[in-house]
Amino acid sequence: MSVWLDFEKPVMELELKIQELRAHAAEQGLEADDQLVELERRADALRRDIYARLTPYQRVQLARHPRRPYALDYIERCFTGWTELHGDRHFADDPAIVGGLALLEARPVMVIGQQKGRDTKENLMRRFGMPNPEGYRKALRLMQLAGRFHVPVVTLVDTPGAYPGLGAEERGQAEAIAVNLREMARLETPIVTVVIGEGGSGGALAIAVANVVLMFENSIYSVISPEGCASILWRDGKKGPLAAEALKLTAQDLLGLGIVDGILPEPLGGAHRDAAAAAATVRAAIVRQLDDLSGVSGPELVERRLGKFRGMGVFKESPA
């Protein structure tokens, strides 16, 4: 079962026709004929054309695609020996963030990611990947554990944002995020972040103060959701596409602004079209980054990470 986005409609029509012809040919015991080959060529060209000219909001839709691989899909394919660890030791375990021990080839790593649900039941449990404070505190506990053993930390960002709930406020959502921002900065071990889907504001940043931040080409990273921004600045939540343009939230924009360090290509049509290929890309990128960082001392890693974020911001300065 495929899920089609509105802008994919022309491809969808061709694909359905191709499927129909294929089924018909199979029924008749025939070889694929010229018409089928031609249709497939056209579908492929059309897909290339559409995906070469995606608007920011179309990328938002891809980043939120219900079939898009989530953190656990990557963890399963990129690592071995995955051993999930639970709980913040204070209040609860938050299923919106998963974390645990894993092996990347022979190398131990601590992997942490925001996890969305695949169906309604799972989304209820994981709150659509929107963490509570205890999720961030669990993530920090695991990162600090990794730090003590100089085990590299890999974080996979995919959240609409921190959960806006009564309990989250009562248990200090803002404090939990703030503490992570400070404590990640001083972790004496390599940190590599991959934005695999949605990078929703402070809720994403709270696990993304990394030495290297990579983004999938159809992932997004923003200070506010386009809909949230539209409802405030346009007074109309349906103006999301306009806000998405204005916010400069695509991987290409963020690379240009110097916020991320690299863009990972996705399979044609988006990561959900070929999860195995997408995972192979993530895995290769993490291996390369960790190889680059493996000889760097703990204090030097902290120095570089602090320096990287210290330099962010655009302003002018006149003599006062």
Binding site: A178, G202, K239, A246, L247, I259, M312, G313, E317
Partner: protein, 316 residues
């Protein structure tokens, strides 16, 4: 009550502190509805003498209430926002929004930074201004906080930041978000340098700013009834589909939940901050570096007999 309205829109003095209520001889208290004389409000540091409602005040005014008289020297005043995203909302491009805010407030951006003393102790002070685009933090506010932290370390001063903000500045997109990481990360250096940070939350202190430096004070103080929260109440109500408890996200609620040390009346704030800094001041021998000499005049003093703030360190 027509006379009241007429009065409000009538006379305007030049040097009055601006607030979110119209200027004039009378101002109606948002807390108790009492009509208050402008002069009474000024005498009471823009708090209501009847119900203690704390009016929002611009950064300059807040500095006057918090720093020792005539000790504030502004720094980094030449910083000004750019428009890297070429952001345009429904009506206006960002540079025009900025210009309007600058004309309205007489400030270049949503925070003032500088050095001062509080009860005689040397501090790096950053005070946010809610009247400048909702006190939103973009690159300029983030940079002022960052430099305040760095110079506090270099000059061995305490750090005091007064928040008054709706959060990150959307018009600077992801660059605003990164100010959260930039400011919070630099506090590592302040901690390593063994220098204290007092975070003061005034109304409102919310969203991205609360999710960064504002929550990270060694001591966190708040003005009475200040709005202190991460997510907006409307969004939370929509998400959970139920009404929120009375006093939700007010300073008193947040104190009860354990994320604020003390709620302090504006009239007592300077003394409280001075008193708190005094402990760190003495324990570090005038903010001296490890094993070194204090770069500032250091006069150990005993607290007054009633346990209130000591006074001798304040003499200059």
């Amino acid at each position: 009550m027509t006379w009241l309205k007429r009065e409000r829109t009538g006379i305007k003095k030049k040097k009055e502190p601006r607030s979110d209520v119209p200027e004039g001889l009378w101002t109606k208290c948002e807390g108790c509805g009492e009509a208050l004389f402008q002069t009474v409000l000024e005498e009471n540091l823009w708090t209501c003498p009847h119900c203690d409602h704390h009016f929002r005040v611009p950064a300059r005014t807040a500095i006057g209430y918090l720093a020792d008289p005539d000790t504030f020297t502004e720094r980094f005043a030449g910083l000004e926002a750019l428009d890297p995203l070429e952001f345009r909302d429904a009506k206006l491009p960002y540079p025009e929004r900025l210009k309007a805010a600058q004309q309205e407030t007489g400030q270049k951006d949503a925070a003032l930074a500088g050095v001062a003393t509080i009860g005689g102790k040397p501090v790096n002070l950053v005070v946010m201004d809610f009247f400048f685009m909702g006190g939103s933090m973009g690159s300029v506010v983030g940079e002022k906080v960052a430099r305040a932290i760095e110079t506090a370390v270099a000059e061995r001063r305490a750090l005091v930041i007064v928040s008054a903000t709706g959060g990150a500045r959307m018009q600077e997109g992801i660059l605003s978000l990164m100010q959260l990481a930039k400011t919070s990360a630099l506090l590592v250096r302040l901690q390593e340098a063994r220098l204290p940070f007092v975070s003061i939350l005034s109304d409102p202190s919310t969203a991205g700013v609360l999710a960064s430096f504002a929550s990270l004070g060694d001591v966190v103080l708040a003005e009475p009834k200040a709005l202190v929260g991460f997510a907006g109440a409307r969004v939370i109500r929509q998400t959970i589909g139920e009404e929120l408890p009375p006093g939700f996200q007010r300073a008193e609620f947040v104190l009860e939940k354990g994320f604020i040390d003390r709620i302090v009346h504006r009239k007592r704030m300077r003394d409280e901050v001075s008193h708190i800094l005094e402990f760190f001041w003495r324990s570090t021998r005038g903010f001296a570096p490890d094993g070194g000499e204090s770069p500032h005049a250091f006069r150990p003093a005993l607290p007054s007999a009633d346990g209130g703030p000591g006074t001798s360190a304040r003499s200059r």
